[in-house]
């Protein structure tokens, strides 16, 4: 069989022993099962739209069949269903695996798999599927099981229940923009005749009509489209602060009153076109800035990670209860791939707990009966029984989450560059307005009021207010294209101010996916290696797989008398030789001397212990360069929950050990960040797991490193795709470029203001000057900001 045979389901290499079904090669029986399901329902087109687009999930990783039994209970069903009446129900699921056209096609043809499904719609950007189904033919649980069987595992947690009412604000903004655009376009038509030579011959009736229509158009713009500006201006005034919205609101009100006065007195038809145009442009800016990554979530807390329900063991059998009802002392059952929801004590003999979401460590930890198990781990292997020690709210991880409040938001809002600038701006403008008003009052009193209002009108900081949304909005889009996703544009400014970078170790600067393997003991012969590889082939434990992949060999030997003892090891007879592989206790009978040191797999060969494999996470490629570059501009720290076994290696990277801190608990990490901030430092925390959640939240900017950005990650300000890790310094550098462009944009808008003000103070601000100057300043600032970011990003090569 050729080496590069690819699974027709998922495109992974089939290795040496592909599973063959109908002449098609598959890498594993899981892929082949999905193929058979689709094949039986005439859904083979799935493989034609995008070849090898299927999702590979190891059988070990598939949730146990009872996992979704809670979906049969009405209390959960009613929460999860969007709608249910007369047996017809609607439900929507977030499915992180949706990634291509084939996915859309298959998920929208679900009714071919089950007649109970009436209709299914995919929202690709949100990675969401909306299903209408007939509950008499397929229950919610069966529906979820069906999705799982074709490897599209929906995410069902507290988050998916809470989220439902969130999307309204976007729609509102669209409508506001629509109304502003409508009024702007029409007002322009009515005002246009005024700007042409010969307008003085226009009939008076016509002028009046145009004027009144303009006022009618302005009213919805002022009261609905621009309502947010008045609201925030009022709010900030109440707090005795000046924000950018204050001069905007002031300008809008003056524009409207001035226009109204002119129309009422029959002098002209005012500035309604400028007014509606301003609102339109500013709303466009708000929309551009507000773009979010719909499928990414930056707000996840432990609730979204923990299950909705747990299986409680009672005298009368197992019952499913909601997570909130879990009490300490309860006995619970946790199956393969399920999460331990609260701190508890293990009752079963052994357990293998994967804490990768908590610590970033990809190798499962073995626990024995009576051991304390922290919440947040994922059981791998057989179902285990646990006794709850602390309720969910009191568990270590949850508590950590609850003690973090976000103290930065209020203070930081005030401190943004736009608001700092607008504080001076507002004061200066009001002074100029009063000054020119007073000047004309003593020289030519009839011009005084007009000059005063003209200044407020022309100084309306529309261009100023557009600079930041468009510069930062473009920056965010450039980042997004490169695999660096920001929660919102405000993060850019915080990132710019950062002067200290704190790294987590495991999973952050080390790569959880690739492992460095070393054999400690007498060197193994190639025959021994082949035997080890062959034995490892039969186990699906992650460690076995790692070892299997690390040994080069062409064939697989037959294994007799294969035994897998959960959480301990594997054993088999190959070529007549007995070998055991597994934990130190399993192989040698001795307990591990030090806890939590390196991951080890011990080997017993024939009649003696041959030695052990030592597995270490590899450091991410590019780490050395990144640290060297960042060191020039930032102070670097490292916090890790591990002991100092890696100290020597880390010193090589960081140069010294002053800022390396070992054995740090999640709370220690949080306090360390606090300490740095109290010293006046602006801290960037880079982490990956739930144990960094507190520190990520507390820091000025928290970045999470993720292999798959759509998978679970703790609440943070930005998500960085792990393969872009080495580019982090460039991303940080680029914020400086953005800030320079913002400042240049401010300068441009000030220049426009100087020109406009020179008209205004002389009492010469006619509607036509306003109608030309205001849109031009806005459009040119927008064009400048977007183009210069685009060009800089091109020259930057992230």
């Amino acid at each position: 069989m050729s080496e590069d045979l690819k699974c027709i389901h998922c495109g992974n290499s089939c290795g040496k022993s592909p599973v063959i079904f109908e002449g098609n090669p598959f890498c594993c029986s899981g892929c082949s099962t999905v193929y058979q399901i689709l094949h039986a329902s005439q859904l083979k087109q799935y493989y034609q739209i995008e070849p090898m687009a299927g999702i590979k999930i190891d059988e070990m990783q598939l949730p146990a069949s009872e996992t979704y039994s809670f979906l049969d209970l009405d209390q959960f069903k009613s929460k999860i269903l969007n709608f249910s009446e007369g047996g017809i129900s609607k439900v929507s699921f977030f499915i992180p695996e949706i990634h291509c056209a084939s996915c859309i096609w298959l998920l929208e043809n679900l009714h071919s798999l089950n007649k109970g499904i009436i209709q299914s719609f995919v929202n690709f950007p949100k990675k969401e599927i909306n299903i209408t189904f007939n509950e008499n033919e397929i229950s919610l649980r069966q529906l979820v099981d069906l999705l799982v069987s074709i490897h599209y595992i929906p995410e069902i947690n507290q988050h998916s229940i809470d989220k439902k009412s969130a999307d309204q604000s976007d729609k509102k903004l669209f409508i506001k923009i629509g109304i502003a655009a409508f009024s702007f376009m029409n007002a322009m038509i009515y005002h246009f005749p005024q700007y042409l030579p010969g307008h003085e011959f226009l009939e008076a009736d016509m002028k009046k009509l145009f004027g009144w229509l303009s006022v009618l158009l302005a009213i919805p713009v002022l009261t609905y489209s621009a309502s947010d500006y008045f609201l925030t201006a009022y709010k900030s005034l109440k707090k005795k602060m000046i924000s950018i919205d204050l001069p905007i609101a002031l300008g809008l009100i003056t524009l409207f009153t001035q226009s109204l006065v002119e129309i009422l007195s029959g002098k002209g038809i005012g500035y309604i076109d400028s007014l509606t145009g301003l609102v339109f442009f500013m709303l466009i800016g708000r929309w551009y800035q507000g773009k979010t990554y719909q499928a990414l979530s930056f707000e996840r807390d432990y609730k979204t990670y923990f299950p909705l329900a747990v299986t409680k063991i009672t005298d009368s059998g197992n019952v499913t209860i909601p997570l909130e009802d879990l009490k300490s002392g309860d006995q619970i059952l946790v199956r393969n791939q399920e999460i331990v929801p609260a701190d508890s004590i293990l009752k079963s003999a052994t357990a293998s707990i994967d804490y990768s979401f908590v610590t970033g460590e990809s190798m499962p930890v073995t626990k024995k009966a009576g051991d304390f198990v922290f919440a947040g781990g994922r059981q791998i292997g057989n179902a285990i029984e646990l006794t709850i020690e602390k309720e969910v709210q009191q568990s270590y991880l949850t508590q950590l989450w609850n003690q973090v409040e976000n103290p930065l938001t209020a203070e930081n809002k005030l401190n943004t560059i736009v608001n700092r600038v607008s504080q001076y701006f507002t004061v200066v403008i009001v002074l100029i307005a009063i000054g020119s008003g007073l000047f004309w009052y003593f020289n030519k009193p009839e011009l005084a009021l007009f000059a005063f209002t003209s200044v407020l009108i022309i100084a309306c900081p529309c261009a100023l207010a557009l600079t930041v949304p468009f510069t930062f909005g473009s920056t965010m889009r450039q980042y997004g294209r490169k695999g660096f996703y920001l929660k919102n544009t405000a993060v850019i400014e915080h990132l710019y101010k950062v002067d200290t970078v704190v790294f987590d170790k495991t999973g952050t600067i080390t790569n959880a996916q690739s492992t460095d393997i070393r054999f400690v003991g007498k060197e193994l012969t190639s025959e021994q290696l082949l035997i080890i590889k062959s034995l490892a082939f039969h186990s699906s434990h992650p460690l076995s797989k790692t070892i299997f992949n690390s040994i080069e060999a062409d064939e697989i030997l037959e294994v007799k008398d294969f035994q897998e003892i959960p959480s301990l090891g594997i054993s088999g007879l190959l070529n007549g030789i007995r070998i055991n592989m597994g934990s130190r206790y399993f192989v040698t009978g001795e307990m591990s001397t030090e806890e939590n040191l390196k991951t080890e797999v011990w080997i017993y060969f024939k009649d003696a212990v041959a030695g052990h494999f030592q597995l270490e996470n590899e450091y991410r490629p590019g780490l050395r360069d990144l640290i060297r570059k960042l060191q020039k501009t930032h102070e670097l720290h490292l916090l890790t929950g591990d002991n100092d076994a890696e100290k020597a290696n880390l010193i090589q990277f960081f140069g010294n050990d002053k800022s390396l801190h070992f054995n740090q608990s999640p709370t220690d990490k949080l306090n360390y960040i606090r300490k740095l901030q109290q010293e006046g430092r602006k801290v960037l925390m880079i982490g990956d797991g739930l144990n960094d959640a507190g520190a990520l939240n507390e820091s000025n900017v928290g970045i999470v490193i993720a292999d798959n950005v759509f998978n679970f990650s703790p609440a943070c300000d930005a998500i960085l795709q792990s393969k872009q890790f080495g580019q982090l310094d460039k991303f940080i550098q680029f914020t400086h470029r953005s800030m320079t462009i913002v400042k240049a944009g401010f300068l441009i808008s000030f220049l426009y203001n100087v020109v406009g003000l020179s008209f205004a103070v002389q009492g010469n601000l006619t509607p036509i000057v306003a109608a030309i100057l205001m849109p031009i300043s806005s459009v040119s600032v927008v064009a400048f900001a977007s183009f210069s970011i685009h060009l800089s990003a091109k020259g930057y090569r992230f």
């Binding site: 005439q42 087109q45 739209i49 056209a101 859309i104 096609w105 929208e108 043809n109 009714h111 071919s112 719609f121 995919v122 929202n123 690709f124 950007p125 949100k126 999307d167 976007d170 729609k171 669209f174 409508i175 629509g178 109304i179 409508f182 376009m185 029409n186 038509i189 009939e203 016509m206 009509l209 229509l213």
Partner: protein
Amino acid sequence: MSVVFVLVFAAIIMAGAFLIAFIWSVKNGQYEDTYTPSVRMLFEDPEVKIEEETEKGKMETDKP
């Protein structure tokens, strides 16, 4: 020039109709997903056709 009055009102009614259509389309959720429809329209056989064909046992005549 009185015809201009008529035109102005005709214009604003037309524009207003479009505005209402826009607001309706936003509320209807047409801007929630601007990507998937572009992929969906490229899928060839509507699944109804496949079902009919299988019923008649004509699957083999379909494209290879």
